[in-house]
């Protein structure tokens, strides 16, 4: 008794399935290995060729071979078949091979569902607005294909329109569900180890070149919206990992000591800045804030070297409100910590060592030594460049004395080595510097290309003091931006370049839209959901209340849609309305009017069936015929109404 889904696919249906497969496959191309994209494309071309020349499908054992080869390829690529990326790759192979195996609409349905599923997997890598638009296009095509599998005779355009209309009607339900479906803080269970491999950001170590790689990326690190005063750009140091330990060329964090209270006292006389940070996921625990925050954001802790840590790696967009003061008073550090801020590998950077030691004349203060180092670096005429020459293990020596060209890593690392050699405790601080103001929504956008490294030195009585050696040599980097600091001719990340004004304007608008998208669509988490629902009048929203609202609103939407779809225009002619009332009444007595019967014929038949009522029936029929086909006389209409109302068969 089920509709037949076992008859062979028509040619049109085959083309629909190919298009659906293609619509699901193309957005995935950037995130699968090239060989897999090529294999999938080849299978699609093969299927298309078979359809074009009306050739039969290949033997099953060929498909088995291709499947095995593809699976082996996936295993070689990812060393597993079960990770997130391997899973996507396998699904893609199945989607392609199912095309070569689909013989009936039932197989076709499997392809469409697989396409729906693959649409979801592209969000692992990207959830931007263009990807959302791609998703809609894929959905329309796949749904039209589903309609084509049921109804093979309709031509493509009506099918696409039907799919579009149905998806439009689905939008209210989507909105209600999106807002009210109780959100939980995922994940529900452990994710595959490669789940967050696509995220970029500052790492917990620094070797020459590591920030340089990062800086080529235009990806957004975080956004900041100030509430009230905005600090000057050259004071916007967004503090990240603090690196104290130097192993040969690599800087690593020192021993992490968690503290529950802030290890410093904010200076209440310096200006306070209030702002909200929206941090992009970067799969590392650190949070970024202006130096130095006056409180901790929720679910975070701090350390003795003033780092902000989230309790878990930041794997989804995170919003937090902060307040910072530029100046703070530090409590005395333990000797232990100061000692680790003086450690140096002895055998490297001999020239820098001896230079530093030369500053450490007995009796000179830390402040004097610091000034000497700054003066020295200024005198060396160091050049800030994104393309520093290759250096050996003696990075500081080669940078300060030989090439004199380097990047912020070289500046900060060499400076810290110099200070340590002069027996002044010093450490490298990484993070971001500056940012770009989007005038459209007044948001500061901090990109990976704003990544920066600077230094902190310990001055007796004053505590840790920020010194940015880059600023002393290339002040433009701090005062303006990267583009201004780098010598002309050096390659720049695309968006940092000076562009045309209108282009800039467009970009700002686009970023503002993106920001709203990120904040409200992608950043819609349990917290935001609670805030929003409280704002629209739900008291203490919990999942029970949300489910109740959800059911109520979905039910209402369903009722409205049902009413709109099933509502039939009532006749506008008042005489016709009365006549139909009369006919309905008789239909209940088994004397329904046939479609072909006019009022006279019907009245004659009725009179024969109900002789006692014959005069009344013929009166009603005459009145109706006169009103309907003659002049619409209000008196006659009223008479008809009265007669019909009084009529009892």
């Amino acid at each position: 008794m089920k509709p037949d889904t076992t008859q062979p696919l028509t040619l049109a249906q085959t083309w629909w399935l190919l298009t659906t497969g293609l619509a699901a496959f193309v957005p995935l191309v950037p995130q699968v290995p090239i060989w897999l994209a090529a294999l999938t494309a080849a299978v699609f071309v093969w299927r298309a060729a078979l359809a074009w020349w009306r050739q039969p499908l290949p033997n099953r054992w060929i498909l088995v071979l291709v499947t095995l080869a593809g699976t082996a390829g996936v295993f070689l690529q990812y060393r597993t078949l079960f990770g997130q990326r391997a899973g996507v790759a396998l699904l893609l192979i199945f989607l392609a091979l199912k095309q070569l195996e689909a013989r009936t609409p039932r197989d076709g349905i499997a392809i469409v569902f697989l396409a729906y599923f693959l649409t979801l997997t592209q969000f692992f890598e990207d959830q931007s607005i263009p990807i959302a638009a791609t998703m809609l296009a894929t959905l329309v095509v796949a749904t039209a294909a589903l309609a084509a599998l049921t109804d093979a005779r309709t031509s493509p355009l009506p099918l696409l329109r039907r799919a579009g209309v149905m998806l439009l009607q689905a939008v209210p339900f989507m909105l209600i569900l999106f807002v009210l479906f109780p959100r939980v803080n995922g994940p529900l269970w452990g994710l595959p180890t490669d789940a967050y491999s696509g995220l970029t950001g500052l790492s917990d170590s620094m070797t020459p070149g590591s920030i340089n790689n990062l800086i080529q990326s235009d990806a957004i690190a975080f956004r900041v919206k100030f509430d009230g005063d905005v600090p000057p750009r050259n004071q916007m140091y967004w503090r990240g990992p603090v690196l104290t330990q130097l192993d040969e060329r690599t800087w690593r964090p020192g021993k992490m000591i968690r503290v529950s209270a802030l290890p410093y006292t904010p200076d209440t006389s310096s200006p306070a800045y209030r702002y909200t940070v929206t941090l992009e996921p970067h799969n590392k625990p650190w949070l970024f804030a202006l130096e130095l925050p006056t409180h901790l954001p929720p679910d975070s802790f701090t350390t003795t070297d003033f780092q902000l840590y989230a309790k878990k790696p930041v794997r989804e967009r995170r919003r937090y409100e902060m307040e910072s003061r530029i100046r703070s008073r530090h409590d005395p550090e333990t000797l232990n910590q100061l000692a680790s801020a003086l450690n140096l590998p002895q055998q490297l950077n001999a020239r820098t060592h001896s230079l530093g030691q030369s500053f450490a004349t007995p009796g000179s203060s830390d402040r004097q030594r610091l000034q000497q180092a700054i003066d020295f670096m200024r005198k060396q005429q160091l050049i800030y460049t994104l393309q520093p020459p290759l250096m050996s293990a003696n990075v500081a020596d080669e940078f300060l004395f030989d090439h004199k060209r380097g990047f912020c890593e070289h500046f900060s690392a060499s400076f810290v080595i110099l200070m340590r050699a002069a027996s002044v405790p010093a450490r490298v601080v990484t993070g971001y510097q500056g940012g770009e103001l989007n005038p459209v929504d007044n948001t500061w956008v901090i990109r990976q290309s704003d990544a920066h490294a600077w230094a902190e030195v310990w001055i007796e009585q004053q505590g840790w003091v920020r010194v940015d050696p880059t600023a002393t040599s290339a002040p433009a980097r701090i005062e303006q931006n990267l583009a201004a600091a780098v010598p002309a001719g050096d390659p720049l990340p695309f968006l940092s370049g000076a562009g045309l004004d209108w282009l800039r304007e467009m970009r700002f608008r686009w970023w503002a839209v993106n920001n709203a998208w990120n904040q409200w669509i992608l950043g819609y988490d349990p917290k935001l959901q609670r805030e929003l629902l409280e704002k629209i009048g739900m008291q203490s929203p919990d999942w029970r209340q949300m489910t109740a609202w959800l059911a109520g609103l979905c039910g209402t939407a369903l009722l409205i849609l049902t009413a709109a779809m099933l509502w039939r225009r009532p006749p506008t002619d008042p005489a016709l309305r009365q006549w139909q009332r009369f006919c309905r009444r008789l239909a209940r007595h088994g004397l329904a009017r046939h479609n072909w019967e006019g009022p006279d014929d019907y009245a004659q038949r009725l009179a024969a069936a109900l002789p006692a009522k014959a005069p009344e029936i013929s009166r009603i029929a005459d009145l109706y015929a006169g009103l309907r086909y003659g002049r619409l006389d209000p008196v006659a209409l009223e008479a008809l109404r009265r007669h019909v109302a009084a009529f009892k068969p």
């Binding site: 008794m1 969000f123 998806l167 009607q169 995922g186 529900l188 099933l566």
Partner: protein, 324 residues
């Protein structure tokens, strides 16, 4: 056992679903209350896929994943309405089926009326254990479909309950309804293949040949019968007589000489009733195709001599409904 239980439950449901005791008066309006909706196998698979995707979206915290799943969920809801609307509100009328011979296929004409301003597509009409007939209905129009039903036995073939269903537009849900209009198709007995010669003419071949040439062989006049062909009326004779005199029919050799009576009683007693009816049916058909006039005698019933389509129908109906 289980199958029997299932079948009986299904039957119970259908009886409840019909809401009226069959046969229903026509036209039958498929009101919203008698149209039922359930997901198809593909629909269940769709729901399971969506659930999997939802878990994926929660687990990986994919906001766009939520958007996708909820949009597809909404699509699932709207497709229920579309499928339901494709069937609900349909009006069904039944025509008079043409009689057929036992062993042939009877066709019941069903007229579907669409009073809505949109097309209804891919409606499946089926009779129990028969293949479905597909119908499409343009806006505010009607269409006629013929429901085939094999006729096994002579007599009245009662139109069984009609199931109307549709999975349009996406095949994810199925809307269906039942209609049990009262309609019967007359089934003539199956004409026998091998027949003994008809009683009053010497042989099949002889009788037919005689009629082929017999029109020229004038053999006299007899009293006119209404079923006689007009060109056999003796118009000249009528003109000579006064206007109240009965018309005369010219009799020709080959037809007129024999008085054809197909009589139940002349068939051997060893034959069973159905075989006799079959043979009589064959004789009737052969006589008509040979252009002969004949009469039929059945136990308790006699049909006077005549010919022509109406006469054939009268005779075959008597044979079809004969109570052995």
């Amino acid at each position: 056992m289980l199958l029997a239980l299932r079948r009986s439950l299904n039957e119970q449901f259908i009886r409840w679903a019909l809401r009226v005791r069959p046969p229903e008066p026509t036209p039958i309006h498929l009101t919203q209350r008698r149209v039922y909706v359930l997901p198809t196998r593909a629909g269940v698979l769709y729901a399971v896929s969506l659930l999997t995707m939802l878990i994926g979206a929660i687990n990986y915290n994919l906001s766009l994943g939520y958007v996708l799943v909820f949009l597809l969920g909404g699509l699932g809801i709207t497709t229920i309405l579309h499928t339901f609307r494709n069937l609900a509100g349909l009006t069904l009328n039944i025509g008079t089926p043409k009689p057929v011979f036992a062993g042939d296929v009877a066709h019941f004409p069903v007229i579907l009326h669409n009073s809505d301003h949109r097309t209804r597509s891919l409606l499946y009409l089926r009779l129990p254990e028969q293949a479905a007939i597909i119908a499409d209905l343009p806006p505010t129009d009607h269409t006629r479909v013929m429901l085939p039903l094999p006729a096994a036995q002579r007599g009245w073939l009662i139109l069984p309950r009609i199931t109307l269903d549709t999975v349009w537009p996406l095949g994810l849900v199925r809307a269906w309804s039942y209609a049990a209009p009262g309609c019967e198709c007359l089934i003539y007995p199956r004409p026998a293949d091998a027949v003994p010669p008809a009683p009053t003419f010497g042989g099949m071949a002889g009788g037919r040949l005689a009629s082929d040439t017999g029109d020229e062989d004038f053999a006299g006049l007899r009293r006119h019968q209404p079923s006689d062909p007009p060109h056999h009326v003796a118009w000249k004779a009528a003109a000579r007589q006064d206007s109240h005199a009965p018309l005369q029919t010219k009799q020709f050799a080959g037809t007129a000489a024999q008085s054809l009576w197909f009589d139940w009683a002349t068939l051997p007693l060893s034959m069973d009733a159905e075989t006799r009816l079959s043979i009589l049916t064959r004789w009737v058909l052969d006589a008509e195709s040979d252009g002969l006039a004949w009469g039929l005698r059945l136990p308790g019933k006699e049909i006077t001599q005549g010919h022509g389509p109406d006469h054939v129908h009268r005779c075959l109906k008597a044979l079809a409904l004969h109570e052995a």
